[in-house]
Symmetry: C2
Subunit: 145 residues, 2 copies
DNA sequence: ATCCCAATTACGAATAATTCTTATATAAGA
DNA sequence: TCTTATATAAGAATTATTCGTAATTGGGAT
């Protein structure tokens, strides 16, 4: 189900120093439920490394984003969330609970690609197309409903 | 080009009291360039109403969002932005400058509608589908590049 | 037109999220 | 092992936002 990650390899492939803090932050994002906030990551990592500094986690997350090892997730809430899946995919946003689910479908991506090939946007070069699908889960996925 | 807004009517249609502060905040969002931040709105409004309180602007923006007179814009930056266009539309995000442009196309919306009618998402009822199109403007639209 | 009151605003203090500064520690190449 | 550029810890500082309270006011009722 979940893709296996060789964290140390991923870091070194980006020429980043392998530090225990970076390994644990990446591990946290891969293992946590779903699109964690910075606070979620700090809490998770502190379970095994109680002394990690909040500033360090902020710093590491920024480094990981810059090196495309994780992505920021846009939300309408104030807090930023992070996503360990770096392949292009879409998001389902639940309007009632706080849950964001990944949605992947290559047919859909093909449809979008075709559409924009036939409908170039003037003065704009597209790099990435992501859908924000808002709605409601019939059965909610977390407790914060 | 720009849709005319009867701000006082829009407020009263939502059963909101018409106050000078609310009128000016809505006016600011409609007249400002592009998806302003709260700070942008405060600065703009203070040009004609130097004593408006920041807290009031935060409060008004929240009221306007709750009443669907404006929308929040998801961004990867920390600050929230607002959008006076409430009809469904998509956004072009420039990776270099800080500019967000609206993108509307009913053919595209139809394609998406058809796709999701044929590809129901299990356990999820779709309310709204928006594209986040990231890329680069060939000729940048603002100074903050 | 005036009165009244619930709703709204101003103000500033409080909180929360994030960044910055500086000293210390450490990963990894030589 | 040594060296040094880079990363981390700690906490102060900054920034964005919320909250509490008193004063003001829009608009319905009279």
């Amino acid at each position: 189900m979940k893709k296996e990650h060789d964290i140390r390899y991923e870091l070194s492939a980006k020429k980043l120093k392998i530090t225990p803090q970076r390994v644990k932050v990446l591990e946290a994002i891969y293992e946590m439920d779903n699109h964690p906030t910075t606070e979620n990551v700090i809490d998770y990592v502190r379970k095994s490394d109680p002394n990690i500094s909040a500033g360090t986690v902020y710093n590491i997350l920024e480094v990981l984003v810059k090196n495309d090892l994780i992505k920021k997730v846009k939300t309408e809430k104030d807090v930023m969330r992070y996503d360990g899946m770096t392949e292009n995919h879409h998001h389902l946003y639940c309007k009632q609970c706080d849950y964001i689910e990944d949605y992947t479908n290559s047919e859909l991506d093909k449809i979008l690609k075709d559409y924009f090939e036939q409908n170039k946007i003037d003065n704009f070069i597209i790099d990435e197309i992501k859908l924000s699908i808002s709605g409601n889960f019939v059965i909610h996925k977390n407790k914060n409903h």
